[in-house]
Assembly symmetry: C2
Amino acid sequence: MCVAPVGVAYRFSMDPLRFEEARAIVSERTRETIGQLPAESVPLDAAAGRILARDICADRDYPPFNRSARDGFAVIASDVANVPATLELVGETRAGEPSRFALEPGKTVEIMTGAPGPENADAVVMVEYSQRDGSSVTLTGSVSAGRNLIMAGSEATQGQCVLKAGTRIGYPSVAQLGTVGCADVPVYRQPSAAILSTGDEVLPIGARPQSYQIRNSNAHSLAAQVRRRGGVPRILPVAKDTLEDTRQRIEEGLSSDILLLSGGVSMGKHDLVEEVLADLGTELFFTSVRIQPGKPLVFGRCRDTLVFGLPGNPLSTMVTFEVFASIAVDLAGGAPSSPLRFQQAPLAEAFRHKPVLTRFLGARLEGEFGETRVRADRGQGSGDVTAFARADCLMVASDRRAEWAAGDLISVMPL
Amino acid sequence: MCVAPVGVAYRFSMDPLRFEEARAIVSERTRETIGQLPAESVPLDAAAGRILARDICADRDYPPFNRSARDGFAVIASDVANVPATLELVGETRAGEPSRFALEPGKTVEIMTGAPGPENADAVVMVEYSQRDGSSVTLTGSVSAGRNLIMAGSEATQGQCVLKAGTRIGYPSVAQLGTVGCADVPVYRQPSAAILSTGDEVLPIGARPQSYQIRNSNAHSLAAQVRRRGGVPRILPVAKDTLEDTRQRIEEGLSSDILLLSGGVSMGKHDLVEEVLADLGTELFFTSVRIQPGKPLVFGRCRDTLVFGLPGNPLSTMVTFEVFASIAVDLAGGAPSSPLRFQQAPLAEAFRHKPVLTRFLGARLEGEFGETRVRADRGQGSGDVTAFARADCLMVASDRRAEWAAGDLISVMPL
């Protein structure tokens, strides 16, 4: 790890890291920077996407009773070892009723899906395998013990932790929270991320730019990315290319948990961000990563705010957020880790690159089901928003491999 | 396709479909049911996740000028065919300034990333390959024409459609919208989805259930799923197991674009949903699909509302929404299609099943980068919310294959 001494004049000129190394540094430094996270409570219907702030325990056994998984007949399994078997029908239990029966050998109770099984029953024969005749039922399907009857406590026992603090709440977690009656969900406060674009050429999106000016699209795509990760974005006014304005805006951003700078981190002499960060005593952890797009990527810490200097090209900004800065949003939001999961998809056509950088390319998935193929769309490079807006995933070409044939598997990340 | 005649007494007993067939029917029937979709306008920062209601065109050429992709020196490429080459430095252009120069052979202009190139320049040599000496610069890197200089209009020309109506707005689309100055984004109105759980055993999540009762977790997980797809969920009070209450609640649900019923679609005699749907003249398109969980799945149409009868087991409810009902939310929301993209991941351990159904299993991804492995977590079956809440993807076992060895690729869908 390469840490520039605080207060020493430095250029953004450390050796570039491999992207896995850079990710590890972001994780480590974020962990040591964030303190105790405050929690709050939100209604269950607002909890999706948030991160649980404490362990959630089962309020009772699950299932709370021996639950029938089918409509059918509750039996002692040994009674139907040989079928057809005719049993005496002693009653019926619907879902939403307590069980009023204790089964004896040779007897059965009609039972509905979700209903509690009678005492002594250890299986349910599906209604499809039954013929009823008055008070007797002939069962034509044999079942082993436990079949179609989920025993009380087999999914979770009372007091057992069913969701851990740090879980990102997806719809399956919502189901679990609802099941145990958690109507108000304890979640961590969302981390704040200030977003600062820099440069005289950058105008607000509502403005009409001169031919040599561009709009501040990066701030809005970053805000969408922050929001998607569960953070709260705060878009600052664009910093002009003066020391004073750059310094003032960066200081404003330091009141957030995370400061995302877009632009101003390459080697040009008009890049003032570096100078201001140095002046403010920013501790730099790395300044370059061997990826494309996004090589000149700066990560540091200033007054307990994690600072990312993202390159200003739109694709570089978006990709470096997804691959690096997202880790800080996740961890500062209470997630215990922020792994980057690659799935694999076969290439629609051959791909080659110079294996000195890990490359992230906008790409499209084509076809459905098991026939999905991935096709890269390089467009005109890392400024080509139009090409990237057609993408539905990132294709990842490892720095350890040069060539892929059509049909070879390659890594993809959903957008 | 099997359509039961309206008004004829029917049971939910059509032949089960393969899941691809069932998906095609949901797409087709949704398309013929939804009319012209109303549009509205939202601020760019609220547009992520929404679906574009009209084509978005480039307001000018992109880039609007020949844009330098690097800090360096704008050149006529033939001047640096042999390096080192010493050129006369005639000026400097920063990003945010118009270009004031026209290059002649043997001359160069210092240029910053994002700045417009001088007239006649066709490439930029990176500053890393330069040595400056007063008014001359020696360049040590040769470049071909077009290198590091993105020509005006090469990404998009003025008036060109850069985002199509029907695009789901992700962060790359936000970047595109911001780039062309679209501060207020035309999007389709979000489709509404009523959610109705049925059964005397089902209580609101805030209630304290008796041992034989359960909480209405399905309504809340479905609401999270609807919201994630861009729909607006409306949770109805649980329908009691009487014809009157079931009918009243279902009629309430018919004021929404989509009605999601959870429970009440299996063969049990206390399932009243079927009877009420028939009474209301519901046209049924299918009643069973060869998948697990979720085989008894009903899809139909009643008074222009698309009706899904999802099985009541929590996993069945969630999976059948993701695989089938989500199509209706997507298409009714204005998406032109709703493909199911499977990626592949190698199995952490061997898997086998009886290949008569397509199986969806909660599963976990392990490891990072190219080493990601998938591991199924079957738990106690389709009622086991606790096991499913640990999952971070669905593993999909095709009905056309019985066995996979550890390390074999299998299909996965992110949750």
